[in-house]
C-alpha cells in the first residue's frame, strides 16, 4: 500500500491532501511512519525499523499496522490499486 504521492506531510505530523482539502493532525509516530512511506520504504522495512527501535512484539505491531492502514484508507490517503 502506497501513500498518495501528492499528500503533503510535515515533520510534526500534519497531513494535507491537496486534492480534497482534508487535513489531519497525527502524532510523532504518525509523522515518522508517513515520512518512511513517502520515502519509498516497504512495509517490511518500516516494521523492522520499529521492531529495532521500540519495545513491541511482532504480533502487536502487525495489529497496529493493520489499524494504521485502515485509518489511512478511511482518510483517503492511500493510492487506489489499479
Amino acid at each position: 500500500m502506497k501513500i498518495k504521492s501528492n499528500i503533503a506531510t510535515s515533520e510534526n505530523g500534519f497531513i494535507f491532501n491537496p486534492a480534497t482539502g482534508d487535513s489531519f493532525s497525527g502524532n510523532g509516530m504518525a509523522a515518522l511512519l508517513l515520512l518512511a512511506m513517502k520515502g519509498g520504504k516497504s512495509e517490511n522495512e518500516i516494521k523492522q525499523d520499529i521492531l529495532n527501535r521500540y519495545n513491541v512484539n511482532q504480533a502487536q505491531l502487525d495489529l497496529d499496522w493493520e489499524d494504521w492502514m485502515l485509518q489511512l484508507k478511511e482518510a483517503n490517503l492511500l493510492e487506489t490499486e489499479a
Binding site: F16, P18, A19, T20, G21, S23
Partner: protein
C-alpha cells in the same frame, strides 16, 4: 517600473463587503497587487452604506449608480457622466443582477472607450438557476433536480419528490436548506418578495462544498481555474475560510463548462462533491466570487488577467497554482465621518 497598465482607471461594483460580501473589494485588492499604486479605482455603489465606499485607501472615488430596475438608459447616462469625470479604461461589474444591463450597454461603453469582458446574454441565460438543470442534462453534467415555483402551493409537489431537507433558492441570490413544510413556505415567500418568481426548489445533495473560480476566454477555453474547498461556512452558506485544492476532475469540469458555453469573463462554479465521487453543480455564478483574491494569492490573478483581456491583450492560460493557500475572512469596524455618509447620500459621490 511603469507600463501600460500602471495608470489605468478601473471602475468596480460589488463594494458591499458585509457578511454576504460582493466581490468588489477582493477584485480591487487583486488589481492593486498586480498594477501597483498608480492604479485608480472608481467604486460604483448602489447603497450609501456599502463598506467599500468608505475604504478610501482602496477606492479612490465612489459614485452611486442606478439600481438595475431603472434600466439601461439610466445606467448609461450615469456611466457617461462618471466617464467624463474619471476617463475610465475598464468597468468590472460584480453583481449577477446588474449583468443583464451591463452586457446590453457594453457596445456603447466600448464606443466611449471603456472596455469590459463580459459573457453574452445567451451565455448568461444558459447557466441561470432556472435553466441550470437543462444545461446539465444536455451536457452530461451532474446538476441536482429542481422545480421552478411560481406559487406557494407548488411546494408540495417539490417536497413529495425531493423529501426533506431540500433547498429553496432565490432567482438571483440567497438559498435556504429547509426541513419542514413551514420552513419551505417561509423561505418561498421571503425569496419571492426579495427576488421575484420563480423561486427554485432544489434537491438537497450531501457532500463536501467546493467552489471553482475561473476565467473563460470566450473561445471555449479557460485562462485560469482555481478550486477552493470551503472550510468554514456561515449561516448564509458563504465561505468564511477556505483552502485551495487541486484535483484534475475539478479542472476538467470547468473546462467542460467553458467548452460548452464559450464563456467570456469570470465565473464561479459551486460544487457539491459527494461520497460517491460525483461533482454536482449547484450553481454557476456569472462573475468573480468574493474570495477571488485567493486566486491571486495562489498564483493566478484572475482580475489582472481579465483586465488585460478586456484591453485586447493576449494572456497565456495559467497552468498551475499553489494548493494549500488558505483564506480566513474577518470583520473590521472601519471608522468614517458622518459628513462622508452625507456626501454619498446627498450627492451620490464620495
Amino acid at each position: 517600473m511603469a507600463n501600460k497598465y500602471s495608470n489605468l482607471c478601473i471602475a468596480v461594483t460589488g463594494l458591499n463587503a458585509n457578511d454576504n460580501p460582493g466581490p468588489g473589494m477582493a477584485v480591487i485588492r487583486s488589481l492593486k497587487e498586480a498594477f501597483g499604486s498608480g492604479l485608480r479605482i472608481v467604486g460604483l455603489s448602489y447603497e450609501s452604506l456599502e463598506p467599500g465606499v468608505y475604504l478610501r485607501e482602496h477606492v479612490n472615488k465612489t459614485y452611486q449608480v442606478p439600481y438595475p430596475t431603472e434600466g439601461t438608459s439610466a445606467l448609461l447616462e450615469r456611466l457617461a457622466y462618471i466617464h467624463q469625470q474619471e476617463n475610465l479604461d475598464v468597468i468590472i461589474p460584480n453583481f449577477d443582477s446588474e449583468l443583464f444591463n451591463f452586457i446590453k450597454v457594453a457596445p456603447q461603453l466600448q464606443q466611449m472607450g471603456i472596455a469590459t469582458f463580459l459573457p453574452s446574454q445567451q451565455q448568461l441565460a444558459l447557466r441561470d438557476k432556472v435553466n441550470l438543470k437543462d444545461f446539465g442534462t444536455k451536457n452530461g453534467l451532474y446538476v441536482p433536480a429542481d422545480h421552478k415555483l411560481y406559487h406557494a402551493d407548488e411546494l408540495k409537489k417539490a417536497a413529495d419528490e425531493f423529501n426533506f431537507p431540500m433547498v429553496i433558492k432565490g432567482k438571483f441570490y440567497d438559498a435556504y436548506v429547509v426541513y419542514t413544510t413551514d420552513q419551505a413556505l417561509k423561505a418561498f415567500h421571503q425569496l419571492n418578495a426579495a427576488w421575484g418568481a420563480p423561486v427554485i426548489a432544489q434537491q438537497y445533495v450531501k457532500g463536501t462544498e467546493i467552489n471553482i473560480a475561473a476565467l473563460g476566454d470566450g473561445k471555449g477555453n479557460n485562462t485560469s481555474i482555481v478550486a477552493m474547498r470551503k472550510l468554514y461556512i456561515t449561516d448564509k452558506g458563504k465561505a468564511w475560510a477556505g483552502v485551495t485544492i487541486k484535483d484534475d476532475k475539478l479542472i476538467a469540469l470547468a473546462n467542460n463548462f467553458a467548452k460548452a458555453t464559450n464563456w467570456r469573463g469570470g465565473y464561479e462554479m459551486e460544487i457539491m462533491s459527494t461520497n460517491e465521487g460525483h461533482l454536482y453543480i449547484l450553481e454557476i455564478n456569472p462573475r468573480f466570487p468574493a474570495w477571488v483574491y485567493l486566486t491571486a494569492a495562489a498564483g493566478q490573478n484572475q482580475p489582472e488577467a481579465m483586465v488585460k483581456m478586456a484591453l485586447g491583450d493576449d494572456v497565456l492560460p495559467y497552468n498551475d497554482y499553489h494548493a494549500g493557500k488558505l483564506f480566513v475572512r474577518y470583520s473590521w469596524d472601519h471608522i468614517a465621518d458622518i459628513s462622508d455618509f452625507q456626501q454619498i447620500s446627498v450627492f451620490g459621490e464620495l
